[in-house]
Symmetry: C2
Subunit: 218 residues, 2 copies
């Protein structure tokens, strides 16, 4: 299937890109610039992952939305809470309805360039605290995209039943170079090792048994 | 209910704004700049309608999306087909998944500013040719927005069972100044009277019996 792949530049979406290259016909990888602290490092990794596979990389600039949306993720690194990825800490990093916005824009671009599918790397460990990461949301959004597009664009969620550790395993099998993925919400040169996404990344590598190429500050 | 109102500056959304001011608690009217030919005149009308009711008007700039989306509506007035609002002509003016994109962004902003509802002026005459105007799409999108937001944001579609002529009637009752609404897809100083939206506008006034304040070129 001709498809677009949402590519943030993290572990999950880099693996989804490699999966799509094996299983489907990627038209382009899609990244979003939306004023987040970690945008530049993420986007550099996304660009690199797409180039490795010879897949066109499109960066869609949604930074004009940032002033309208409230989130610590859009407010500078000092606003990012350290410590466990628990409900209170995570909630501060929520960008309201971010996946809904990304998927809608991706659906419009898919229709414009003749893609029949949009791939998102949502997985079973995506925290219940983000309502627009839950499978119940994904199902409704999938239906909306299918009904709201001429081509009946499909929303593909190949990792929806997998843990992040299983994604790391699959990525290793597919030859993903994880040293060119970025997860830290603080946006520093090196992964901080303290924020929620750093902890998740680290634990996923540990649980998978795949060597973690990341240098963490803490 | 605290709500946001999608306000293009046309007849339907201006009426929806007045309806919301009577029935609910409008937090803001939301317009989108997305590179369409008729943006400036529409936005001026939207601004005027919101000011009349003392409702804050927010313009969200999505023009960075235009290069990624294919549509005659984003390609200059000469690309707009004249004549009947039939399938072939209308299809050229489709902006892929536009309502999906607008509603997703509105949902994110609603969460950010504490609004529990988003009002859209979709009506029964919205053509089957636009898949993202159909009620089946609206239902799925409504579900996605509710599930994907903390507040369970509601999508309100007060005109979904009404014709455009009935909206004009309601608008007249609510005191909408229709001379400050704009519909023409060509974007000229005066309504062209030939494009599909001009024809619809004219017919709705005729059918409603409400005097049409519009000067048409043809």
């Amino acid at each position: 299937m001709k498809c677009l792949i949402l590519l943030s530049g993290g572990v999950d979406s880099a693996t989804a890109l490699h999966w799509a290259a094996r299983e489907h016909e990627p038209i382009a990888a899609l990244s979003f610039r939306y004023g987040s602290n970690h945008a530049d490092r993420e986007l550099a990794c996304a660009e690199r992952q797409a180039r490795t596979l010879n897949i066109p990389h499109r960066v869609v600039d949604l930074s004009a939305l940032a002033p309208h949306l409230s989130s610590a993720l859009l407010s500078g690194a000092s606003a990012i809470p350290a410590g466990e990825y628990d409900e209170q800490n995570m909630r501060a990093t929520v960008v309201p309805f971010r996946n809904g916005i990304f998927l809608s824009v991706a659906a419009g671009i898919a229709e414009s360039c003749g893609a029949q599918g949009v791939v998102i790397a949502a997985h079973s460990g995506d925290h219940a605290i983000y309502p627009d990461c839950r499978e119940s949301f994904m199902q409704a959004m999938s239906r909306a995209i299918e009904l709201g597009s001429y081509a009946g664009v499909q929303l593909l969620r190949p990792f929806i039943s997998m843990s992040k550790a299983q994604i790391v395993e699959l990525g290793a099998q597919l030859g993903v170079d994880f040293s060119h993925t970025y997860s830290c919400y603080c946006g520093g040169e090196r992964h901080c090792g303290r924020c929620g996404t750093c902890r998740e990344r680290r634990e996923a590598f540990l649980a998978s048994g795949v060597p973690d190429p990341t240098t963490y500050e803490a």
